[in-house]
C-alpha cells in the first residue's frame, strides 16, 4: 500500500524519504491497512500570520495532498482500509489570540478568533475535515482549547491502534498522540490533579473534561510561559536531514536515517525515553504490548529506536508542516519549508518530505 500511496501523492508533489524503519517488532503487520499522519500545521488567520516569521508551509499543497488522500481512500479495493490522523496543533490558538499570554485569561472574542482562522483557511479546512477523509484529530498544546467547542467533538488526546477492532481483549499495537506531555509537562501537573486525571477517569486520560481538567489548560499556558513564537516555534534553525532520498526509488533502504539510543545525539533521541516509559505504563495497566508511538510537537522529523533492556521501542516523530528543514537534494544542500507526513503499513514506518511540483 506504500507504493500505491506514493502514486497518488506524486501527482501533486515530489516526495523524499526522510527516515524509514521496516521491522516486524513495530507490531503493525497488516499489508491491507495503512495509517497516514499529518503533523503540526499551526493555521492562523491571514491578518495574524503577518506578525510571525513562520506560517503554515505550502497551504495549496496541503489541500491538494488531502484531496489526493481522499482519492486514494475512495479508489481503494474493499479488502483495504486506511486511517488519516492529524497529530495536534492543527490550529494555532496560542499565537492567534494574544489574550492567551496571560495565565487563565480567555478573550471574549475568542470564539470569533477561532472562526477567523477557519474562514481564512477554507481550502485546507474543507479538505482535511472532509467527512470522506475521516481525519482523526488530536489536541495539541497550541489548540488544546478546541475541546470546548461542539463542532470539534471528534478531537481527542490520543488514539490506540487495536489489534482486532471487534475484540478488545487482544489489545493495541501503537499509539498516536501530540507529544507535548513528554516535554516535562506532566511533572508540572500537581500530584492531586494527576491522580484525579489518571485514577478517576480511566487509566489513560483520553478527552479532557472541562469541569475537572480545566486546570490542565493552566498548566499548558504556564508551559508556554512568555513565548511569543515570533521568530520560531520549536526549531530555531532548520532541521538537518542530510541526505534526502527520492521516495519512489527502486532501491529504497529498509532502515534509513534511524537514531538509536546509545549512539544518537540528544536532539535525535528527544522524548524517546519518556515515550517508552509512557507506553510501558499503558502496557502494564492493560497487559498490552505497544512498542510504537507516533508524535508531532517537536517539528523535528525523525525515527528513534531504543532496543535496550530487552524491550524494543520506536518513536516516529512526523515533523511538521511549518518552519524549515534542510537536506541534500541531488548533491546540493537545499533549505525547504517543512512539509512532512508519516506513514505506517506492513511493519514499515516512513516519514516523507513533500515539495510542490515546479510549474
Amino acid at each position: 500500500m506504500h507504493k500505491q500511496l506514493l502514486g497518488y501523492l506524486s501527482r501533486v508533489a515530489d516526495i523524499y524519504l526522510v527516515s524509514r524503519l521496516k521491522n516486524q517488532r513495530l507490531g503493525f503487520p497488516s499489508k491491507n491497512d495503512i495509517r497516514i499522519f499529518f503533523p503540526d500545521i499551526h493555521l492562523l488567520s491571514r491578518e495574524r500570520n503577518k506578525d510571525f516569521k513562520y506560517g503554515t508551509s505550502y497551504p495549496d499543497l496541503l489541500a491538494k495532498v488531502a484531496r489526493e488522500l481522499k482519492n486514494f481512500r475512495n479508489e481503494m479495493t474493499d479488502d483495504k482500509t486506511s486511517s488519516i490522523y492529524q497529530l495536534g496543533d492543527f490550529l494555532d490558538l496560542w499565537r492567534e489570540t494574544p489574550e492567551y499570554w496571560s495565565v487563565g485569561g480567555t478573550s471574549d472574542r475568542w470564539e470569533a478568533s477561532v472562526q477567523q482562522i477557519l474562514d481564512d483557511n477554507v481550502a485546507i479546512i474543507n479538505s482535511l475535515r472532509d467527512p470522506d477523509l475521516g481525519t482523526k484529530f488530536i489536541l495539541g498544546n497550541h489548540d488544546y482549547d478546541l475541546h470546548w467547542l461542539p463542532s470539534f467533538a471528534e478531537w481527542r488526546l490520543r488514539y490506540y491502534f487495536p489489534l482486532d477492532q471487534s475484540d478488545l481483549s487482544k489489545g493495541a499495537s501503537a499509539v498516536a498522540l501530540h507529544g507535548d506531555i513528554f516535554s516535562g509537562l506532566e511533572k508540572k501537573i500537581p500530584d492531586w490533579l494527576q491522580y484525579l486525571a489518571v485514577n478517576l477517569f480511566g487509566p489513560a486520560v483520553t478527552k479532557p473534561k472541562p469541569r475537572d481538567l480545566g486546570e490542565l489548560r493552566d498548566v499548558i499556558i504556564k508551559d508556554h510561559s512568555k513565548s511569543l513564537y515570533t521568530d520560531y516555534i520549536q526549531q530555531p534553525a532548520p532541521s538537518d536531514f542530510k541526505d534526502l532520498f527520492p521516495a519512489q526509488s527502486r532501491s529504497l533502504p529498509g532502515r534509513y536515517n534511524v537514531s538509536e539510543k546509545g549512539t544518537g545525539n540528544e536532539k535525535e533521541l528527544e522524548y524517546l525515553k519518556e515515550a517508552k516509559d509512557f507506553c510501558s505504563g499503558i502496557n502494564e495497566d492493560f497487559k498490552w504490548n505497544i512498542q510504537l508511538a507516533f508524535i508531532g510537537h517537536t517539528h523535528n522529523a525523525r525515527i528513534a529506536v531504543d532496543e535496550t533492556e530487552g524491550q524494543f521501542f520506536a518513536l516516529v516523530d512526523c515533523g511538521a508542516w511549518i518552519e524549515q528543514c534542510k537536506g541534500l537534494l541531488e548533491d546540493q544542500e537545499k533549505v525547504m519549508d517543512c512539509a512532512q507526513i508519516g506513514v505506517l503499513s506492513d511493519n514499515d514506518a516512513r516519514i516523507y518530505q513533500l515539495v510542490p511540483k515546479e510549474g
Binding site: P150, K207, R211
Partner: protein, 180 residues
C-alpha cells in the same frame, strides 16, 4: 464596648459573605436540558434490558470515546469502568422501576440513587432536545451524566401506574460554557 460591637458586626458580615461565597462557588450551574448529539456521537436508543450483543456494541462505542467514526481505542479503560453499570442495565429487577435511578421520591431533593453514584453525578435532568424526533416526548426521560456522556433513560408507564425504564440512549456531552 463600642469597639467590641464593631468587631462583632464585622465578623458577622464577614461570616455571611463567606457563606455566600462558598455557596455560590459550590453551586454549579445546572443544565436545563440535554441535547441529543449527531448520529456519529450517540448510541441508541436501544431497548432494555441490554442483550449481550447490545452490551458489546455499547462497550465498543464507549471505548471509541463516543464516536462511531473512529476505529481506534480512545478510552481503553471504559470496559472495566462501565462493566458494573452495564450489568445493572441487564437486570429486569432494576429496570422495572424508574425510581431506582433516583433517591426516594418522597424526599424533596431529587438526586441519583446510591447504586449509580459510582458512575454518575448529580443533577438529574428531565428536559431533552432531540431533533431526531418530531416533537418533545410526552413522558420525559431521566438523563444523568458521567462527565463525558449523558445517559438518557426513557420511561414507559406500566399497568400498575409505575414507570419502568424501557430504553437507553447514550450521547456525548456538549459543553455550553467556555471557562472564563
Amino acid at each position: 464596648m463600642r469597639n467590641k460591637n464593631r468587631s462583632l458586626r464585622f465578623q458577622t458580615v464577614f461570616f455571611i459573605l463567606l457563606v455566600i461565597f462558598i455557596y455560590s462557588s459550590c453551586h454549579k450551574n445546572r443544565p436545563i436540558f440535554v441535547a441529543v448529539r449527531e448520529s456519529d456521537f450517540r448510541f441508541g436508543p436501544i431497548l432494555l434490558p441490554l442483550t449481550d450483543a447490545a452490551k458489546k456494541n455499547l462497550t465498543l462505542f464507549l471505548v471509541k470515546g463516543g464516536d462511531h467514526n473512529v476505529c481506534d481505542y480512545v478510552d481503553p479503560g471504559a470496559p472495566k469502568r462501565y462493566e458494573g453499570l452495564l450489568t445493572l442495565l441487564s437486570d429486569d429487577e432494576f429496570l422495572n422501576n424508574a425510581n431506582n435511578l433516583k433517591l426516594d421520591a418522597e424526599k424533596k431533593s431529587v438526586k441519583i440513587s446510591r447504586r449509580l453514584k459510582k458512575w454518575f453525578r448529580d443533577p438529574i435532568v428531565y428536559q431533552i432536545v432531540d431533533a431526531t424526533q418530531k416533537r418533545p416526548p410526552l413522558v420525559n426521560p431521566i438523563s444523568i451524566s458521567d462527565g463525558t456522556f449523558w445517559w438518557v433513560f426513557y420511561r414507559a408507564e406500566d399497568s400498575s401506574g409505575t414507570f419502568r425504564i424501557e430504553k437507553l440512549l447514550v450521547t456525548l456531552d456538549i459543553v455550553n460554557e467556555v471557562k472564563r
